[in-house]
Structure formats: C-alpha cells, structure tokens
C-alpha cells in the first residue's frame, strides 16, 4: 500500500475523455447520412487504436479508477444529457432504452459467467421469460406495473432454478449444452403455446406507475418530450441498480467465492467453499437481472413474440462479455453499446450483423484476448 501513495491520478484525463465520448455518442446518434456515420465510426476506432499505441489508455484508466464515485455520477449525468439532447426523438430514445436493457442482461450474465463461470447460452430465453411474464400479468391482472417488473425477474430466476440440478451435476461444456437445450425448448414451447399467443405473441398495454401513463408524450413548459423518456428513466434506474449490485458482489467475499470456484473448483472445495451453493446463487441472481430487463423490454415494445428471444440473441449476449472483457461491469456496458448501436446506425450492415459480431469477437480475441476492458484485480474498497 505504501508503494504508490502520494500521487493520486488527476481527474482531468478521465473527465476530458468522458466529455469527448459523450459528444461523440451524440454525434453518432444524431447523424443520419451513412457516409457521416461511417467516417465517425472510422475516426472513433482510429482514435482508440492510436491512443493505445501512444500509451494514453493507461493514465486514462488510472484517472477513472482514482475518482470512481465521481465518474459514476458523471456517467449518469452524461446519459441524462444525451437523452436530453434527443428528448423528441422516439427512435434514438428507444435505441438507448434497448441498449440499457441489454446492458442489464449482460450484467446478469457477468455474475453467472464472468464471476462464477457458469455458462449460460439461454440469456435471451430468460429475457423472454421476463417479457412474457410482464405481458401475461399486465393483461390478466391488475397488479401494479412495478411489481410486475419485479415478478418478471423472480419468474426468470425460478425458471432458471429448474436447470440447476443438471447444471450442478455436469460441468464445463455439458452445462453449456444444458442451457442450449433450454433455449431451444423455450422457443418451441412459446411458439406452440396458444395461451401465450403462439408465433404471433402477445400485445400488452403501456406502462403505468402511480397513475402516470408511460405511453403519453410529455410536455414540460415549451418542450415536447417523447413518451420514451419515461422508459428511458426507468431503464436507467434499472441499469444503475444492476451495476451497483454487480459491483458490490464483486467487491465482497461472495465475489471472491465466485472467482475461487470458477478458477479451481477442487481447491475451492478443499477450503470449504460450497461450489454448488455459490453456482446456484450466481445463476439465480443473474437470471433475475436478465428477467427484470426482459420485463421492462416487453412493456417498452408493447408486444412479445418468440422471434425476439432466439438462440442467436443469447449468443450475442455471450459475445458482449467476450468483447467487453469477461467479468468487467464497465466492459459489459461499453460492449453492449457497440453491439446495439453499430448495426442500428449502419443500415448497410444490418443484414450482416452476425457476421460483424463474429468478426469483432475474433479480432478482439486475437489482439486483446482479455477483451476491450480487461477486468482489474479486485479492490474491496476504493483506496
């Protein structure tokens, strides 16, 4: 501890980068000419690579790490600023909502796969379970919508509990196969289930919280604000909750237990760490977060259908972790932004988006095997 005391990294490099990134994201989201977008993406990539070559990324990282709380608040502020700029644009706000909900799901997967090493190739299915739960409950019950979102997470966790016995009894690739089988079964199940609307899915009414209807546009003074702003704020709140949960998990004995069993189950057992117990905790917590996100997404979209929760979507979630840096919460968020925004803005590429993801994952694994933001060594408290 005594070694590097004294000089605490300045907040300035990080703050400057955050400002630039915010402006850049606003520029990307606001651009609609394909050429402009292409140039922006190219420039962004070039700047990151150059910064890496000139060794600028390290000091920036140190600046972020040294002023973590401040940057957490600034990041929230930046998100609000971006939403403020696009307050009238349904499309952009919806894109941001999608991004944040996917990020929550990726954080759920981070607990499972990133920390405890429990592979889950059915992420989209648990997202779907959350969404279908919210659809069924909003249509058939008068439960408050916030309670329904909560139940979406609980239902996803309970559905995941069915998979626990086979997952705990097998390991490695076999556990992966169990989740793949579940993903395929889930899809078939909802496709043939008439109560759940079959292939057409279900429609659900807009969200209401304390009498406030989320599907009405908002007028504040002389500003007309898209109705998606309500969903934006809700999703942001959920993302903050998920991020806080994941970070606290990581910075606790529980995160340590997860790491211990991921890295060496046998050694972990020899020191009393209950392998099955902690795998179960990780799997349930992760699926709960994924289910929360799915429940909100169902309400945002206004309908749920089997084709939204495919095995391919589950693979995207896993590739988000590989891209971002397995086990790094910020990495998961940044990678989600990539994966959601790039194909949405580059229309020419949209049909090839799986090809794009594949190429990105391969490039990252080749040149930066630990992901864009490798996970740092655990610090339980900020120094």
């Amino acid at each position: 501890m005594a070694r590097e005391q004294g000089k605490r990294a300045s907040i300035l490099p990080g703050a400057a980068v955050l400002a630039v990134v915010t402006a850049y994201v606003i520029a990307i989201l606001g651009a609609d000419k394909q050429n402009t977008i292409l140039i922006l993406f190219g420039a962004g990539a070039a700047v990151v690579v150059l910064a890496g070559l000139f060794g600028l990324l390290k000091p920036i990282g140190r600046s972020f790490a040294a002023h973590e709380t401040a940057f957490n608040w600034l990041a929230i502020l930046a998100m609000l600023l971006i939403a403020g700029v696009f307050r009238e644009e349904h499309f952009v706000l919806l894109l941001l909502v999608t991004l944040m909900l996917y990020a929550v799901a990726a954080l759920g997967l981070t607990i499972q796969f990133g920390y405890a090493g429990v592979v889950n190739f059915a992420g989209a299915s648990f997202f779907g379970i959350g969404a279908y739960t919210s659809a069924v409950l909003t249509v058939h019950t008068a439960l408050p919508h916030l309670a329904i979102i909560f139940l979406g997470g609980v239902t996803a966790a309970l559905a995941g509990a069915i998979l626990l016995p086979p997952i705990l009894r097998t390991s490695g690739h076999y556990a992966a196969v169990v989740t793949i089988a579940f993903a395929l079964l889930f899809r078939s199940f909802i496709e043939v289930n008439d109560v759940l609307g079959g292939p057409q899915g279900l429609h659900l009414p807009g969200m209401q919280v304390f009498g406030w209807s989320f599907n009405d546009n908002i007028t504040v003074g002389r500003w007309d604000i898209s109705f998606y702003m309500s969903y934006f704020l809700l999703s942001l709140a959920l993302l903050i909750f998920a991020f806080g949960l994941v970070q606290r998990l990581e910075r606790s004995w529980i995160g340590l237990n997860f790491d211990a069993l991921r890295l060496d189950e046998t050694a972990a057992s020899c020191f009393g760490i209950g392998v099955a117990r902690w795998k179960a905790v990780a799997f349930l917590l992760g699926n709960m977060l994924i289910g929360f996100a799915g429940a909100v997404s169902g309400m945002v979209a206004g309908f749920v259908a089997p084709s939204n929760y495919t095995f391919a979507d589950s693979l995207i979630l896993v590739s988000i972790l590989l891209l971002g840096g397995i086990g790094n919460a910020w990495g998961a968020i940044v990678a989600t932004a990539f994966v959601v925004i790039v194909p949405e803005k580059l229309q020419t590429i949209q049909e090839y988006r799986f090809l794009l993801y594949a190429v990105m994952v391969i490039l990252v694994l080749l040149f930066q095997p630990e992901g864009l933001l490798p996970r740092p060594v655990r610090r339980y408290f900020q120094s």
């Binding site: 004995w253 340590l256 890295l263 050694a267 057992s269 020191f271 009393g272 060594v377 610090r379």
Partner: protein, 263 residues
C-alpha cells in the same frame, strides 16, 4: 471400553483406494497426534498424494475409516472435512493466478469470513470492519514467511516467482487456523537454503499454535530428518515402515524400495 491414552487427532485405518487397476492405497493405517509432525515418504507413485486426496475428501475411499477428532470423515465432502479442521497445500501449485495475494489467502479463510448475502451487499460498514481484520490477519501471517510480500497484498499472484507462490499457498492453508495441516512437497523447486527457511517459518507458525499437527510429504530427506517426530514409509500404497527417521532410514525394506536412491 475405557481408553487410557487419548485418541490421536487423526486416526486412519484400512484406507484403500484403487484407480482402475492401480491399487493406490492398500489398507493404509496412519495416525497423527496433536502437535505432532509426521513425515510421509516413499518413492514416486507410492500413494502419498492419494492419501491426502482421499483424506481431504477429493476422492472417496473404497474402504477404511478416517477418524478425525473422534468423527469418521470417510466419504465426507471436502467442505465438511475442511470445516472439521483439516487444511492442505497441493503438490502442483493450485493458486488462482489472476487473483491478488490477499484474495488467494482469503480463499483459505472461507470459514473465518461471513458469507451472508445481506451482510456482504448491504451492510457495507460491518463488512468493511471484517475486511480490515482480515487484511491484518493476512499481513500478520504473510509477515512470517516473507515480509516483503505484505506490501504487495493487492498484486496478482501471476507475476510472482515460484517460491513466493509456495509461501502464499502455505498461508492460504494456515489462515483458517486448522488443527491438521497436510503439506505435499512444499519445497518442490526450491534450493536447500530456501527449503530450510520455509521449514523454519512453518515451525514458527506452529510455535504459536502448538497443537497444530502436520503431515508432510517431502523428497528432501534432510528436511524430514530435521522437522519430523515420526515417519511413515509408503510403497505401492502400503505402509512398509514407521518410526523415527533414523529407525526408518535403517530399515532394509525401505532401502530396497528406494533402490539406489540414497536415504
């Protein structure tokens, strides 16, 4: 039945383990009393590591009993056995390389930390308190083995030389304050001087917890001679001799088992 002599801390009897056709442990009997240092020696493949693996619950025995503190632990899970007070190191280092020194030691402290969800996630003040106590405990233990490492508690183990990794592994095994410690070739890959220093450190820890019993597997006979109270010699999973190092070293069958290897 009235026992005059107190039962030893660990009493293993008839312990048998086969892997396919290989008889790795053949009705092995071994005991270790409180505060005793027992050497376990024998040629390669004679079943020393298997004895540790079966006694710590990694493998289930085919037959036999493992009575520890009066309870038969044969067939129990590694978790149960560790909670009863047995801790170990591994022949091939099994640290979690991406984790910090502190984290690795804390893996061994699982029984001393509080693992409740609410405590860890919500009661951060109480958690911090416990965390600080644990940092102190890890520092104090590490200081016995290598004071320099106490300043580097939050560096990953990955970059450390083998000797430091061995020390950390021993700290990981000791931090739970076990009653019985299994050391599986703790000095593998070390020079004579380093080995002696390591053994002195282990004995220093034992001086504080004088009831700590140690079973040690070691190929450097000088170490065995110096630190053990008693030795058992294995060959093909069977115990072929037992006694003080001098008695055992003079045994003809033992010399034959080692055939050429000098004792």
């Amino acid at each position: 039945m009235t026992n005059v002599a107190p039962a030893p801390l660990l009493q293993v009897e008839g312990l048998t383990k086969t892997f396919g056709g290989v008889l790795a442990l053949d009705a092995l009997a071994l005991s270790a009393g409180s505060g005793e240092v027992v050497g376990l020696i024998g040629p390669n493949g004679s079943g020393k590591t298997t004895f540790f693996n079966v006694t710590t619950g990694i493998y289930k025995p085919d037959a036999g009993s493992i009575v520890f503190k009066g309870k038969n632990l044969a067939g129990a899970s590694p978790q149960t056995i560790h909670r009863a007070g047995i801790s170990r190191t591994f022949q091939r280092s099994r640290l979690s390389l991406p984790l910090s020194i502190f984290d690795n030691i804390m893996i061994g402290a699982h029984t001393r930390r509080f693992n409740g969800l609410v405590f860890n996630l919500v009661c951060r003040g109480a958690f911090k308190h416990e965390y600080e106590r644990m940092v102190e405990a890890a520092r104090a233990l590490l200081k016995v083995f290598e004071p320099e490492l106490t300043d580097r508690l939050f560096e990953p183990v990955m970059g450390l030389p083998m000797i430091d990794r061995r020390r950390i592994e021993i700290c990981r095994a000791l931090i739970s304050e076990p009653s019985l410690l299994f050391l599986d070739e703790p000095s593998a890959g070390m020079t004579h001087e380093e080995t002696h220093a390591l053994m002195d450190n282990i004995l220093r820890v034992r001086a504080v917890h004088s009831s700590l019993a140690i079973v040690i597997v070691e190929h450097q006979m000088g170490v065995i001679e110096r630190i053990t109270d008693r030795c058992a010699v294995l060959n093909f999973g069977r115990k072929i001799a037992e006694g003080t190092y001098r008695e055992v070293a003079g045994n003809a069958e033992v010399q034959e088992a080692y055939l050429g290897a000098e004792l």
